[in-house]
């Protein structure tokens, strides 16, 4: 077979062209179709923000207090504890002494975090 001596990366150029044409041709066709058959009829409501049929009220740029993140972290203590305490309680009688001690260390570690936050005064909303 006798192939012409082409640049080894020519196929990339061809693929690039195809990748450009693939979305652009339908978009151009849709644009042409819109000009011919679907006259645009914009309006103040049609162009406004969609908000489930209710008009948007107030300033959308609302700020949340950054202090909230501390409560988010403290919530995680109880969250993680609850997740692990349930299986712990279910299989409590069948556990070895080592496992119980390991679990107690884990729970106390979390409780220590709460105590630390408490001593720091994080539970007072300032």
């Amino acid at each position: 077979m006798n192939t012409p001596d082409l640049h080894p990366y020519l196929f990339l150029v061809v693929l690039l062209g195809m990748a450009m044409a693939f979305p652009l041709i339908p978009l151009a066709l849709a644009r042409l179709w819109a000009i011919r058959f679907a006259p645009p009829r914009p309006g103040p409501q049609k162009n406004s923000t969609y908000e489930c049929g209710i008009e948007t009220r107030g300033d959308p740029l609302v700020q949340f207090r950054s202090g909230y993140y501390l409560y988010g972290i403290l919530f995680l203590i109880f969250d993680v504890e609850a997740v692990f305490l349930f299986p712990f309680a279910v299989s409590f009688l069948g556990l070895s002494v080592g496992a119980v001690i390991a679990m107690l260390v884990f729970v106390l570690l979390l409780a220590e975090g709460l105590a630390w936050a408490w001593l720091k005064g994080l539970l007072d909303w300032k």
Binding site: F37, P39, R41, Q45, Y50, E55
Partner: protein, 205 residues
């Protein structure tokens, strides 16, 4: 425009001839995307229609869009209270053309069993150009499917350009319908006279 007899003759020979308009109508009438918009118990029937047993996907309308920006069809499924009317019309205004309205159930058609109620709109066609009315209280899913098929037939016969074209393709038609305000006693205005043309009552003298 090709002669219909010639078109049939060609179709018998295996040559399919169509116009751009028919092609477009065929395409859009078979992919009507309704808006996820239920107002009352008719919405339960609408939901059942979209599920596996009745399977509205057979008719290309399973894509219920949660935004008016992406939907073609508003199924007014249920009782339209006067408090809800401004929101309904605002949502309709926000839908892109071409758009259609199905008035599903007795309530959406006329107020239904709540017609005498002080807070119920007596038919959504007082404010919106309704294409298909589906009677029933509530209509069964088959009735909604039939309504959809009727709408598809209507869409298939629509003209895209020139005089006599459908409202959605008319550049001179208004793009939005006025949204009424909920007043102390009734909606202000109580109806849109540009849309609502009730037949005059016939009285036997």
């Amino acid at each position: 425009m090709i002669d219909e007899g010639l078109q049939n003759e060609l179709a018998r020979q295996g040559v399919f001839v169509t116009s751009l308009q028919e092609l477009s109508n065929w395409g859009r009438s078979n992919s009507v995307w309704p808006m996820t918009f239920g107002l009352a118990c008719c919405a339960i029937e609408m939901i059942a229609t979209s599920m596996a047993r009745y399977d509205i996907a057979r008719f290309g309308s399973e894509v219920f869009r949660p935004s008016p920006r992406q939907s073609d069809l508003m199924i007014v499924a249920g009782t339209v209270t006067k408090k809800m009317v401004p929101q309904v019309i605002r949502l309709y205004n926000q839908m892109p053309e071409p758009k259609y309205v199905i008035s599903m159930g007795a309530c959406a058609i006329s107020g239904g069993p709540f017609k005498e109620g002080y807070n119920v709109l007596k038919g959504v066609d007082r404010f919106l150009p309704v294409d298909i009315h589906i009677p029933g209280c509530p209509p069964r899913p088959e009735a909604l499917l039939h309504g959809l098929i009727t709408l598809q037939k209507k869409m298939a016969g629509e003209q895209l350009t020139g005089p006599g074209c459908a409202r959605s393709f008319d550049a001179t038609a208004p793009s939005e319908f006025p949204v009424p305000v909920l007043g102390a006693h009734d909606l202000i205005p109580p109806r849109n006279d540009a849309v609502w043309h009730p037949p005059l009552p016939k009285r036997n003298e």
